[in-house]
Amino acid sequence: MPLSGHLDVAPIASRLPVLKDLDTPAWPLPHAEVLQLAWEVSDDTLALLPRAMHPAVPSYATVCVTCYSESPIGPFNVALVRLMGRAGAHPRGYVLGAIASTPDAVRALRERWGFPAELGSVALMRYHDQIRAAVTRRGEAILEAALVNPEPISGADVQYIHSVTLARLEDGERTGPLLVQVDPHYTFHKAERGRPKLYRFERDAWNAGPLTPLHPIAASFTACDTDLPQIRFVMDADVPVAQGTRKIR
C-alpha cells in the first residue's frame, strides 16, 4: 500500500478549530481572485499528514491566496498553506495553516469549515510582470511570494484541488476530531500561469514543521466566482478513508 501520514491527532485535539455541527450553509463568493503557487517540498512531511491520507509523490505543497470581494460578512482575504496528498484515491490539500484578514472571517472559517485560521494581513498585488502576495501575523511577515511572468491561459486549463481541514466536532455523541472536506465550485473568468517565486516562508507560523519548499512547479492566478460550500464529507483522521468516510449530504 502507498505510504500514509503519521500525524498523531490526540495531542493536538484540544487546539483544533471547533465545529458545533456539520450543517454549515454554503456561502456564494462571486468576483473572487485566487493566486495559487506550488512547490515540491522536502520528503520529511509525513508527520504533518493525518494517518488517513497518503502523501503525494513527489511531496508538494501549495500556497493559496484568495481575495473574496463579496461575502455574507463583507470583503476579506485568506491565505492557506496546504500539504498535498491523497484521501484514498482523490487528490486533496491538507490545510496546515490559514491567515484571514478580518475577525469575522477567522471565526467563520474556523467554526463553519474547520480552517485553522488566525488573524493577520493578507495582501494581493497585481502587476503586469508579477502577481505578488504578502502575509503578516502579529505584525511579522510570514509569507512573501509571487507568480512571475504571468501568461494568459484558459480557465478550463485550471484545476483546483479540494481542501481537507482537521477540526473537532462538538456535537453530542459525535464529538471528536475529524477531517472535513471543503470542495468549492469555480466558474473561471480569467486565468494566468507563471513561475512561482518564494521570498519568505516562516514555516512555524504555518504549522508546517520541517516542510521546506524546494523545486518550483507552477503558479496560477484566476478571477472566478466561487463559494465555500456545505460540508458533504467528513473522515476519520486515523483510518483509511475507504473505511472512515461519512457522507453528510
Binding site: 509523490v57 484515491a89 487528490p91 478513508v241 475507504a242
Partner: protein, 368 residues
C-alpha cells in the same frame, strides 16, 4: 482478436533486496508460458519514479529477456517516452533496432510522452512541449530505421549526416503505435497512420465511438512510416478462474489495487495548468473505480475477470466494437500468487482463446 500481456511491473512495499527481482522473475515466467499458450504479444511500459505502481524504467532490457526465453510472442516497447530529456531519438532508433534483431523481428514500438509530473519534472522536462517533441520524434524514427544515411535539423533535436546502425530486422520496419489515454489522441494516431494503443479502461459505448472515428480518419492518413498500422488495441485486466465468483472477487482485488496505485500518481494536469494536458488521462475513471466504500461493487464494464464464460462474453463485446487486440494486466502489488496467475493464463488459453478466430494479421504491413 489477438491477446497479449501488458506489464507495469508493480512492486509493493516493503522493498527488499529480492522483491524487485521476484517481480521480474515472475513476469518472465508468465511471458514464457504465454508464448507457449499462444498469446500474441507482450508489452512493457517505460515509467520512472512511480513508487510501487511501476518499477519498469528500462522496458527494452526486460523485453530482450522476454525475447530470449520465447520463440513466437511479439515484444511491445510500450511506450517509449518521446521527450528529449528522457530519450534521445538516435538512441531510440538504435536500441529498438537491436531489440528487433535479437527478437528475430518481433518488435512493436509504442510511442508517447508521459502524463505525470513525477516523471517529467524528474527529468526536468517541460510539460508544455511534450506533444510537439513526440510529433517530431515519430516522424523521424521510421526514416532513421530505413535510410542508409540520415541527417535532421528540427526544433527539439538535430544531427548531421550519419549512418544509424544497426537497421531493424523487420522490413520495412516494426509497426508503430501511439499510447492513447486523453480523448483525441486516437485521432493523432489515425492521422499519422499509427496503431491506437489504448491505455484506458473505457466503456463500450465511448470506445466504440472513438474507434469508429479512428477508422474513418485513418483512411485519409499521411503515414509517418512506410505502411499504415490500422490496429486498435486496448488494455484490460485478466483473472480467469473455473469458479466465476472466485474469479470476479480475486480479480477485483487485483484491479482495485492497480487502480488505487494509479490514483496516487501526480498527473501533470493536477499541478501544472496548461493546454498540453487537457485531461487527467486514465486517472479520473480509475479514481471513480478505486474510491470509497462502494469501490468493490464496481467491476468496471467489460473487464476480463471471472469464469471463462463471463470473460468470453466481455471480450466478444470488445471485438464487436472494433478492438483488434486486448492486452492484459495480470497482477498488481503481487496480489495474485504466481501459481494462481499461471493457472489463470492456462485456463484462459484453454477455454476462452478458441472462441476468437484470427481476423487480421498480427503484423500490420510489416514483415519478418
Amino acid at each position: 482478436m489477438k491477446f497479449g500481456l501488458f506489464y507495469e511491473l508493480s512492486v509493493p512495499r516493503p522493498w527488499t533486496r529480492e522483491s524487485e527481482r521476484t517481480v521480474y522473475d515472475n513476469a518472465l515466467e508468465q511471458v514464457k508460458l504465454a508464448d507457449e499458450l499462444g498469446f500474441d504479444q507482450v508489452w512493457a511500459v517505460e515509467h520512472h519514479f512511480l513508487e510501487e505502481y511501476s518499477h519498469c524504467p528500462a522496458p527494452e532490457l526486460f523485453l530482450t529477456a522476454c525475447a530470449m526465453v520465447t520463440r513466437r510472442i511479439r515484444v511491445g516497447h510500450g511506450i517509449i517516452v518521446c521527450v528529449p530529456e528522457f530519450n534521445h531519438p538516435i538512441k531510440i532508433a538504435e536500441r529498438t533496432a537491436v531489440l528487433d534483431i535479437l527478437s528475430g523481428g518481433r518488435l512493436e514500438v509504442g510511442t508517447g510522452r508521459s502524463a505525470t509530473w513525477t516523471e517529467l519534472a524528474g527529468f526536468n522536462a517541460s510539460p508544455d512541449i511534450t506533444k510537439k517533441s513526440w510529433d517530431e520524434f515519430v516522424r523521424c524514427l521510421p526514416k532513421m530505421w530505413t535510410s542508409e544515411k540520415y541527417s535532421y535539423e528540427g526544433e527539439f533535436w538535430s544531427m548531421p549526416s550519419r549512418t544509424i546502425l544497426p537497421k531493424v530486422y523487420q522490413r520495412p520496419h516494426p509497426p508503430l503505435w501511439v499510447a492513447v489515454t486523453s480523448p483525441g489522441t486516437e485521432l493523432d494516431s489515425a492521422d499519422r497512420g499509427m496503431g491506437s494503443l489504448g491505455l484506458t479502461f473505457g466503456q463500450f459505448a465511448e470506445q466504440e465511438k472513438r474507434i469508429a472515428e479512428y477508422r474513418r480518419r485513418i483512411q485519409l492518413c499521411n503515414p509517418v512510416g512506410e505502411f499504415v498500422n490500422d490496429q486498435v488495441s486496448t488494455v484490460n485486466f485478466l483473472y480467469c478462474h473455473e469458479d466465476d465468483a472466485i474469479g470476479v472477487t480475486r480479480g477485483r482485488q487485483m484491479a482495485n489495487a492497480f487502480n488505487y496505485l494509479a490514483s496516487q500518481l501526480t498527473s501533470v494536469r493536477e499541478v501544472y495548468p496548461g493546454k498540453s494536458y487537457p485531461s487527467l488521462g486514465l486517472l479520473p475513471q480509475l479514481r471513480r473505480q478505486a474510491t470509497g466504500p462502494d469501490a468493490s461493487e464496481q467491476a468496471g464494464e467489460g473487464l476480463a475477470l471471472g469464469g471463462p464464460e463471463r470473460i468470453t462474453r466481455a471480450l466478444k463485446r470488445w471485438e464487436s466494437v472494433g478492438v483488434d487486440r486486448v492486452n492484459f494486466l495480470l497482477n498488481a502489488m503481487e496480489i495474485i500468487p504466481q501459481a494462481e496467475l499461471l493457472e489463470s493464463l492456462r485456463l484462459f488459453a484453454r477455454e476462452v482463446m478458441p472462441a476468437f478466430a484470427e481476423t487480421k494479421p498480427a503484423v500490420a504491413g510489416g514483415s519478418r
